[in-house]
């Protein structure tokens, strides 16, 4: 609980600080003044309002929301699949979404209306859910063990990746750059509307996962033991994974594939609060939020035009994780891990 509260307090302070971070020179007090005037509907210089009110504010809040969703989802995925290498993308969500984006951007084909700006978002969302649909269909025809689920996800990932790569090889460099920037994950161009959608989905999704925390604890004992304690492992796994898929697809369709935080975020949280799901889910969410926000601050000032947040989160996060792993107790993983 203390870890979670520290993450929340840290996120608030970092968010305030982040409003002043970027190539456009703007102090924190000035940023607050701009936000205040925007909320009151007062006139502002177009560039100032655009950067602070339509840029850094929703981008910072999206970093918190997306980081929280990915890390909480990753923690539950690792628990359900009993695999420390699992993350929200383990089911092939990212490759499905990339394929959806590729056919929308490169071929101009979309689920709804390809002339609209949200065609790419809709395509990414729908195709991100295809791997989970395949897993659900396969589960009706037989037992889907955690290993089978992961292997199915990997197989689906390779199929979608192959199609996406084929499309990317046939396009021009400008279109390729658009698809590629989406692939590495970015918080640029986040709108208030998309932030609202992600926040609502995140609150509902994480709340649901918290209500299932006791079942997830029982799942760590293995399928047979879980059954003997009154938990249906197949149902619990598939319901949990469907919720995580919906949460992750919602994030991915707006931000692209932001890696690392969903995989390593839960492990860092686990080092501080242990593996009890009731504590792990909020702790991972708290850490994921603050970590992605910090990464986005660094990403904004990196290079002449900034870098995608996915690149920074991996660059900063991996060494941090290795240091924590070496320095801290490691008994939060099973003997085989």
């Amino acid at each position: 609980m203390i870890f979670f509260l520290l993450c929340i307090i840290g996120s608030v302070f970092l968010f305030v600080y982040s409003l002043g971070v970027g190539h456009f020179d703007c102090g924190i007090l000035e940023a607050f003044d701009i936000i205040g005037k925007s909320l009151r509907g007062e006139e502002l210089a177009r560039q100032t309002k655009h950067i602070i009110w339509y840029g850094r504010t929703p981008s910072g809040l999206m970093a918190i929301a997306a980081g929280a969703i990915l890390a909480a989802g990753g923690g539950v995925m690792q628990t359900l699949l009993r695999n420390p290498l699992a993350d929200p993308y383990s089911m092939g969500i990212s490759s499905g979404a990339l394929f959806g984006v590729s056919i929308a951007v490169i071929m101009g084909i979309s689920i709804y209306d390809s002339s609209q700006s949200y065609a790419v978002i809709l395509n990414a969302f729908v195709f991100a859910l295809v791997p989970m649909a395949i897993i659900l269909m396969a589960s009706r025809r037989g037992d889907m063990t955690p290993s089978k689920i992961i292997l199915t996800g990997i197989a689906v990932m390779f199929v979608f990746s192959a199609f996406s790569t084929t499309l990317m090889l046939t396009t021009d460099s400008e279109t390729l750059a658009t698809v590629y920037s989406w692939r590495v994950g970015t918080l640029d161009g986040i709108s208030w509307a998309s932030l609202g959608i992600v926040s609502v989905v995140g609150v509902i999704g994480i709340s649901f996962l918290l209500t299932q925390a006791r079942k997830y604890n029982v799942m760590t004992a293995g399928d047979n033991s879980a059954k003997s304690m009154g938990v249906d492992p197949k149902r619990t796994t598939l319901v949990g994974m469907t919720v995580i898929s919906l949460m992750t697809a919602t994030v991915v369709c707006f931000t692209g594939t932001i890696g690392f935080v969903g995989l390593v975020g839960p492990h860092i949280a686990r080092l501080f609060v242990g593996s009890e799901s009731k504590f792990l889910i909020p702790a991972a969410a708290g850490f994921g939020g603050i970590f992605l926000l910090a990464s986005s601050c660094v990403a904004r000032v990196s290079g002449p035009l900034g870098l995608p947040v996915g690149v920074i989160s991996a660059m900063v996060g991996c060494p941090l994780f290795i240091i924590i792993l070496v320095k801290m107790r490691s008994n939060v993983w099973g003997s085989g891990v």
């Binding site: 006791r214 003997s228 304690m229 938990v231």
Partner: protein, 277 residues
């Protein structure tokens, strides 16, 4: 609580693992299931607590078909202690045992749940381990924690899959004694799979001997553990002697030869060896 198994059969593939199982078990007793590897002992108890569904026949719990009981309701009646105690993301001992309260709980852990957990830990003499991480424990402590998790379910029947495997002799005896005492004093039916025939003979009230997917013999340890049965089921020669009113198996390996110590072979403690030289 009584368990009736009628004409039960099961197979993971077309080849049956269990066939024509007919058993009736009841009363406050410790029952051991014996038999060679792969004979279907674990499969049998997995069919009893609905981890597996029989392909033929029925398993009745107090005359109700277990296939018609929800797994949550069944978990209130039947507890299970698995063979393997490995866990992917270990919790503290108290949280591990608390899992066993799931069939009786709704959304959150109640004070009553915690009280029962600590009472069970106290009963097994491991209350001092409550806040330790599960994977910091020894094999014997693991087994007791698993046992506590099964007991805190407050089951009428407790199924144990080789609870004494991987334990030293002291812990084997301790765990088997606890099983027997629990059966007699707490009024539950304890069914335990074992590969240690002498442990089963010493502590069990009744024994089930399995052979080639079927029940070969049932009865008291004296009735079941005979040299003829051991020869037939395990294919080994033995002598069964009576020790303190219980049968005791002594294995005979007729193929064992060269009982003399090979020349120039030795094992000694380094200090003694140095002193001797």
């Amino acid at each position: 609580m009584k368990i009736d198994i009628k004409e039960m059969g099961f197979g993971y593939t077309a080849t049956p693992v269990l066939k024509g199982i007919n058993l009736a078990i009841g009363g406050n007793q410790l029952v051991s299931i014996l038999g060679p590897n792969g004979v279907g002992k674990s499969t049998l108890i997995h069919c009893i607590n609905k981890i597996l569904s029989p392909k033929e026949g029925v398993v009745l719990l107090n005359d109700v078909d277990v296939s018609e009981i929800t797994i949550k309701d069944l978990a209130k009646e039947i507890g299970y202690v698995p063979y393997s105690t490995t866990t992917s993301f270990p919790l503290s001992v108290v949280d591990t045992v608390l899992m066993g309260r799931h069939p009786h709980s709704k959304w959150k852990t109640t004070d009553e749940d915690l009280q029962k957990v600590y009472e069970t830990l106290d009963l097994l003499g491991i209350e001092h381990l409550a806040m330790r991480s599960f994977n910091q424990l020894s094999a014997g402590q693991h087994q007791k924690v698993m046992l506590a998790r099964g007991l805190v379910q407050e089951p009428k029947v407790l199924l144990l899959d080789e609870p004494t495997a991987n334990l030293d002799i002291k812990h084997q005896m301790e765990v088997a004694r606890i099983m027997r005492d629990l059966a007699h004093e707490k009024g539950i039916t304890v069914i335990m799979i074992s590969h240690d025939i002498n442990i089963a003979a010493t502590y069990s009230d009744n024994v089930i001997l399995m052979y080639e997917g079927s029940i070969f013999a049932v009865g008291t340890p004296h009735e079941v553990i005979t040299k003829e049965n051991i020869k037939k089921v395990y294919g080994v020669e033995s002598e069964v002697v009576d020790f303190r009113g219980k049968p005791h198996l002594v294995l005979i390996d007729e193929k064992l030869k060269n009982l003399e110590l090979p020349k120039d072979s030795y094992v000694s403690m380094r200090a003694q060896e140095t002193a001797a030289r």
